[in-house]
């Protein structure tokens, strides 16, 4: 498993963990402690753990003398980025159009929704990017080691 695969796998694990923790926290606050929905959303604070996806353990290891990536890795990285790019468009369309149907054309959206758009967009892009990289390499522990 090479560096890109490790990074992608680590990102996916962090994303999954973050989402699970956040939803659990919101659920516990709402249904166990009987908080109101508005207050129970504080559980989404666990989403801050998403930033850990950029702190990959392999970054702190001593680098080997092997080249970290070759043309094939770059090709895979490029493909993954394009997959994330095309995957983001439907989400963007959905997030931009949904308030028109929910609140109506004369309605208003609180600006916090815009922050959620950025946050959710990044979540989707990073997840798609990691899935695409792992998919290109074949999901298994193979490939050059780094």
């Amino acid at each position: 498993m090479n560096r890109w695969q490790k990074e992608a796998r680590f990102t996916l694990i962090v994303m999954g963990l973050t989402l699970a923790l956040s939803l659990t926290a919101v659920g516990v606050l709402r249904f166990v402690f009987d908080f109101k929905w508005h207050n129970a959303q504080a559980g989404f604070a666990f989403m801050a753990l998403m930033s850990l996806s950029r702190v990959n353990p392999s970054m702190f290891r001593i680098k080997s003398k092997k080249p970290p990536l070759d043309e094939r890795d770059l090709l895979i990285k490029g493909k993954a980025m394009i997959a994330a790019y095309w995957g983001f468009w439907p989400i963007f369309v959905l997030m931009a159009m949904a308030p028109c149907f929910v609140y109506g054309l004369n309605g208003k959206v609180p600006v916090i929704y815009l922050f959620w758009m950025v946050f959710f967009g990044m979540f989707v892009v990073m997840t798609l990017y990691s899935i695409a990289i792992l998919n290109e390499y074949g999901w298994r522990n193979k490939g050059e080691k780094s």
Binding site: G78, I82, A96, P99, C100, F115, G121
Partner: protein, 142 residues
């Protein structure tokens, strides 16, 4: 001129016509104080964005000829990468700037942001493709 260049030029022409027309319509509605005309302006912006997406359908491919090789794929990929960076810059700017000045925004603003982003990204991609091929009418024909 190959097919990718033709599509990029087509997109560029559409944007060059569509965006000023949108701005003109909005300016007219502003002066005339008619909100309904603004919707027409936004409609034009949407149409511009949709046409740039569907542009490969409007530029015909000649049968029996190879119109796409590795070099074209690299150029297209680079253009997408530039478009991707532009998309994120616009998206984050559009989503964060209103937070400093407003507490809420009208729902109709979001589709307008979407259409403007789409048009800008397609414009940047088209310019990136043409710049990489060299702007001139050269390259493989298709």
């Amino acid at each position: 001129m190959n097919r990718a260049q033709k599509i990029a030029r087509f997109n560029l022409k559409i944007v060059v016509v569509g965006v000023p027309l949108t701005l003109l319509t909005i300016a007219v509605s502003w002066i005339a104080d008619q909100v309904a005309i603004i919707l027409v302006g936004f409609g034009i912006l949407w149409a511009t964005g949709l046409i740039t997406i569907l542009s490969p359908l409007f530029v015909k491919q000649e049968l029996g000829k190879i119109s796409f090789d590795e070099r074209d794929a690299i150029i297209e990929k680079k253009a997408y990468t530039i478009g991707y960076c532009t998309l994120w810059c616009i998206f984050i700017a559009c989503c964060t700037i209103p937070c400093f000045a407003l507490s809420s925004i009208p729902t109709v603003a979001l589709p307008v942001v979407l259409a403007s982003t789409l048009v800008t990204v397609r414009l940047v991609e088209s310019i990136a493709i043409l710049a990489q091929y060299g702007w001139a009418v050269r390259g493989e024909k298709s």
